[in-house]
């Protein structure tokens, strides 16, 4: 459904050149729910905007829904439903009006668009709001309207850019089941971005983790979790360099990162493996000041994969 090779985009601002996306290879099969996961500024939105024909790539090629991105943008648009990160509704328009106009722009008749709008409103908790002026909706209601607008024409490919921002837990769960329904009942393919690991985990068949415009890891949630799960053991040491050299080759240490005045080591079971690691350091003559075992949080997952914290 999507094949991208070497997709790249550079922005030139007055003061700097930003390489937002740097050579992305992406394959998405029909009927998959795929997530782009990454911290702020990773290039998720830029990637989606390129694939949605809104932004011309500075390099690379892509085929989306069977149409070449550069040669047949209208072909891509016809089959795509796109919900942008910031949404896009006119605060002076009414909910129904916006949905029906959107449907008409995709070639539906006003009557068909109205029927679809009603059904979508019902399943996205927007029923009875059809006559409401959009400016008077709550933030979460407006977000659900954004999503409905991307779905009125029943696209076979859907891009959702952080669909659940601003939604309460109930609406989020409801949105997830709606997205699953799109795939299970309508056979749609979905590419969504998020920086919530739980969302990616609950929803996606496959995840691409991107950072600084490149894919740093990809796989099913289970595969990724296996890679990034485990416990984190932090040692405070006097000689970080030597300690790193010692532990890097240790069979039980999966990942070694230098942190302030110490080392962070990923292992399968922290309680059982911390002591053997400490002994190894001791044998090599490294003094260990303290030891701390932690079970990874979402933030640690990012730290391990991207070297950056999700909390900035």
């Amino acid at each position: 459904m999507i094949t991208a090779r070497g997709l790249a985009r550079t922005f030139k601002t007055r003061t700097a050149t930003v390489e937002a996306v740097r050579g992305l290879d992406l394959d998405v099969a029909a009927g998959e729910i795929v997530g782009l996961l990454g911290p702020n500024g990773a290039g998720k939105t830029t990637t989606q905007r390129m694939l949605a024909t809104l932004l011309a790539p500075t390099a690379g090629t892509a085929t989306v829904a069977g149409c070449d991105l550069r040669a047949d943008p209208v072909g891509v648009r016809r089959q795509l439903g796109y919900v942008s990160q910031a949404g896009g509704t006119n605060p002076g328009a009414k909910v129904d009006e916006e949905l029906i106009t959107q449907g008409q722009l995709y070639g539906l008749t006003a009557a068909t668009a109205a029927t679809r709008a009603r059904a979508l409103c019902a399943s996205l908790d927007l029923a009875d709001l059809g006559d409401r002026i959009i400016g008077k909706l709550s933030g979460g209601q407006r977000r659900r309207l954004d999503i409905a607008l991307g779905l009125v024409h029943q696209p076979k490919l859907v891009f959702l850019d952080e669909p659940s921002t601003g939604l309460d837990p109930h609406s989020r769960a409801n949105l997830w089941s709606h997205i699953r329904g799109l795939r299970d009942q309508a056979g749609a393919t979905i590419l969504l971005t998020t920086h919530y690991l739980d969302e990616a985990d609950a929803l996606c068949d496959r995840i691409f983790i991107i950072d600084h415009g490149v894919i740093v890891a990809s796989g099913t949630p289970a595969e990724l979790k296996r890679r990034i799960s485990g416990d984190l053991v932090t040692f405070e040491v006097d000689d970080v360099e030597r300690a790193t050299a010692v532990l890097r080759d240790h069979p039980e240490a999966r990942d070694v990162t230098a942190v302030e005045r110490g080392l962070r080591v990923t292992v399968d079971r922290g309680e059982a493996q911390a002591l053997p690691l400490m002994r190894a350091l001791d044998d090599a003559g490294v003094k260990v000041g303290s030891l701390h075992i932690a079970h990874p949080s979402l933030d640690d997952v990012f730290l391990t994969l991207t070297g950056r914290s999700l909390r900035e």
Binding site: L54, R77, R78, S84, G88, T89, G92, E97, T101, L105
Partner: protein, 251 residues
């Protein structure tokens, strides 16, 4: 393309009709123009060098063109708001034609302008204007073409600048010389030769002369043909520029 234009036209018109204050203001505006300017008219018409024709026949076409300029010029602010809301981007991902998205908006603006122009002419008749119906219709059509040109250009400028703070000074900078050099406010017959040459390079001055000829019922006048051609030319150029801007990726 036309279908897309009609969808956008109806949508935009419905949004506009939802603003009662706006409707009242646009309808009162022509009346206000007339009421404020009419008292100045008789004394000025007696001045040496005043253009040919009855005072009303000179004055009302000028007012119509001015309405056309000021009624259309500021629509660019609307598109900046739409860019900010994200609605433009949303519509750009649909298969709708870019030209259709533009035309629908321009059509809405032009319809409003035509209604205002017709209203102004009718009110002017009540004030004492005598004008042949065909001439009035031609003049209103010229205003419509001007509206197409200026609202297209205003949308293009809005999309280009994407900021109200940049658009406002630009419009000010353009509108004042265009207005002065068109002979709407002060007849160019008073102007020294260099200024007159400058004015004759301003298509709007030909548009004004053309509508004045139409109001006199002087259908054979070359100024009418030139005026019509100038208005149509402006409309085509405006649409082409705006179309290119709508098709740009960053728009």
């Amino acid at each position: 393309m036309l279908r897309d234009a009609m969808i956008i036209f109806r949508y935009q018109l419905r949004l506009l009709l939802r603003e009662p204050v706006w409707i009242i203001i646009t309808m009162i505006q022509p009346l206000l123009y007339l009421a404020l300017f009419a008292p100045l008219l008789e004394p000025i018409a007696k001045t040496q060098g005043f253009p040919p024709g009855d005072a009303w026949q000179v004055f009302v076409p000028g007012l119509l063109i001015q309405l056309g300029i000021f009624g259309s010029m500021f629509v660019g602010f609307g598109i900046i708001a739409e860019v900010r809301w994200g609605t433009i981007e949303r519509m750009r991902v649909t298969p709708a034609s870019r030209l259709g998205l533009l035309l629908g908006r321009v059509l809405r603006d032009t319809l409003v302008l035509l209604l205002q122009a017709a209203l102004l002419t009718v009110i002017a008749v009540a004030f004492g204007l005598r004008v042949p119906l065909a001439g009035a219709l031609v003049a209103v059509a010229i205003v419509g073409l001007l509206g197409v040109a200026l609202s297209s250009l205003s949308y293009a400028a809005g999309l280009w600048l994407k900021s109200e703070d940049a658009l406002a000074p630009l419009l000010n900078m353009v509108s004042v010389p265009v207005l002065l050099l068109s002979g709407i406010l002060l007849p160019m017959e008073f102007a020294p030769p260099w200024l007159r040459h400058l004015a004759s390079a301003n298509p709007f001055s030909h548009v004004v002369d053309g509508s004045r000829a139409a109001f006199r019922g002087d259908y054979g006048a070359s100024s009418l043909t030139i005026g019509l051609c100038a208005a149509a030319g402006l409309a085509v150029v405006g649409l082409l520029i705006a179309k290119r801007t709508f098709e740009r990726e960053s728009a």
